[in-house]
Subunit: 343 residues, 2 copies
């Protein structure tokens, strides 16, 4: 178990390193207000902390920097929640002050403001639409063999897809088709659509529509869900300004990972509600060895919807980022709940 003094020293080392990005030496530590003992004492304590794995040296006679374990301990036990400044709070609130009704736009804006306030990269996993319920299907013929199918969900999300149909189908039939679909599918969660189409709609189509099987597949294919929710980014290039990434190769790895969204998506989806912090290799992604990822979830009512995340160097301002994420995720949830809950 760590002594109080060791905790204090660990805390100050982490704080200082987060601020300066420079290894922290015993002499500079001893000059801090909160520290009242000599460099020699500090050196002894630091030697112990190093032995325990909380801090490391960059070379034999350098100052110390926090290890991953050190950050982990700091985050778990030493973090004091940062009181956000007025101007920060104000900026966040301003995102939600304006009356915007597009869910996507709100989310996009949140990502932007987060990256601006932190100088890190922000990632927002868009609202899960698979549980949205179908409000309406519209079919608009473009020409005699092509039509566009538009589906609207109860949260106002719109998707569309162009499909081909047999020229033999006349406009009357097309209308009938739309009616059947709306009749049978309204209120069904998007994720269940395919199933329902084959089970219930197929029979009806057979009765009323010529070329029934061709259409059936066209429809089912058209209403298939997109692979996964969209990711929104803010400050994609902010990492270029972090001294931790002055090495262009590290940078390349990181930026590549950010651009090829799949692995990020894996890291971010399906978080339990609340704040989650992954430090360095805890992310199990070699490009993120020197990064930490902090995520928070947002929801409409009690239904968890998506995730807000900040990607920064392991040397990130944990306290501030956590406060900001907390603020924005609750605000986001509140606004979205207000907008879409009671319909």
């Amino acid at each position: 178990m760590l002594t109080d003094r060791q905790l204090l020293i660990l805390q100050v080392i982490v704080d200082d390193f987060i601020r300066s990005a420079q290894p922290v030496g015993s002499r500079s530590l001893s000059k801090k207000e909160e520290i009242s003992f000599s460099p020699a004492t500090i050196r002894n304590e630091m030697a112990d902390l190093e032995e325990l794995g909380f801090i490391e040296k960059t070379h034999t006679s350098s100052g110390r920097i926090p290890s991953e374990k050190g950050y982990r301990y700091y985050v778990d036990h030493l973090l004091l929640p940062e009181q956000l400044g007025h101007s920060d709070v104000h900026k966040v609130k301003s995102v939600f002050a304006e009356r915007i009704y597009e869910l996507e736009k709100i989310v996009q804006r949140s990502a932007k403001i987060l990256s601006e306030l932190t100088n890190y990269t922000s990632i927002v996993l868009g609202p899960a639409v698979k549980d949205n319920k179908l409000k309406k299907i519209q079919i608009v013929p473009l020409n005699k063999e092509t039509a566009i199918a538009i589906i609207v969900t109860d949260t106002g999300h719109v998707e569309n897809k162009i499909f081909q149909f047999p020229a033999s189908l006349d406009s009357g039939e097309m209308e009938k088709l739309a009616n059947i679909l709306n009749d049978r599918l309204a209120g069904v969660p998007l994720v269940d659509l395919t199933n329902k189409i084959y089970k219930e709609v197929a029979v009806l189509l057979r009765l009323h529509i010529s070329n029934y099987d061709l259409m059936l597949h066209a429809i089912a294919d058209t209403l298939k869900m997109p692979g996964h929710e969209k990711l929104f980014f803010g400050g994609k290039t902010n990492m270029l300004s972090q001294p931790d990434f002055s090495d262009i190769n590290k940078l390349r790895g990181l930026m590549n990972m950010i651009e090829h969204e799949d692995s990020l998506y894996k890291l971010i989806r399906e978080k339990k509600s609340g704040i989650s912090i992954k430090i360095g290799r805890e992310n199990e992604n070699s490009a993120m060895e020197d990064c930490s990822l902090i995520t928070a979830t947002y929801s409409i009512g009690t239904e968890q919807l998506g995730t807000v995340a900040i990607l920064g160097p392991t040397r990130m301002e944990y306290s501030r980022v956590i406060s900001l994420l907390q603020l924005i995720s609750t605000d986001l949830s509140r606004v979205l709940t207000d907008l879409y809950q009671n319909k």
Copy 2:
């Protein structure tokens, strides 16, 4: 005027530098197949070429690199069109082989393949939708004060916007409204919608709809055009691997510009049809001092639609990039024309 020998030397210098990114010396030049005179002769010619501003030294005794003027001359007079390899052509064709009907998806794919084939950054300015003609407006009520307006154009482009309306409006009126709009606005280019609404639709609304002025503005606002067409990117981070951008500050400037799309948009929009090449400072953008931008336009039928562009270092493979852009822009035009021309 340049002598044939000077032209030859200039050409070989540019070619070699494009390949190697290293200043080219007289000795290595003299070893090339196409060159049959001694290093000393070459040095004399190079001194002349330098005096004329076509090449420069990086320091007193270095080999030469092309100047902007050199690149310009190379591009204008010395470029031999590259015969694309089978595999390149095949890859491009494969983008269009699959039957895709979403315009955006085709464009997106084109951007991706371009960046993969060049290792530069590709930018595609999406199809201009402002001249698309309105096919259909749909209004789907979400709850008693919110509805979503969906417009479909003749090319299958879909836009939607959520708007609020007075709770006093009943569903019958809403339907009437949709009918009026479709009746009056079908076939109207999107860009003229606002105008038409105030001039022609307003009168009708007054007759049939309660709360007519509130609705009028809601509608007009909803149908307002988005600021500008979307930009699609491929290989945003490819510049990280270009040796020309080993300097992290240059890189930062460039990446920032790419991320804040406005200035790029300015550089790309409203190109005359055909290929355009801007070298270095010709782009009039400080972040692009060491970049060249090559653009090509694509169209549906005779109507110019958008732009395909490659952003690379000034030391870019002009010949190859031009061939690729030509290939992809004509293919793109052909496919889009096939899809949307004869409706």
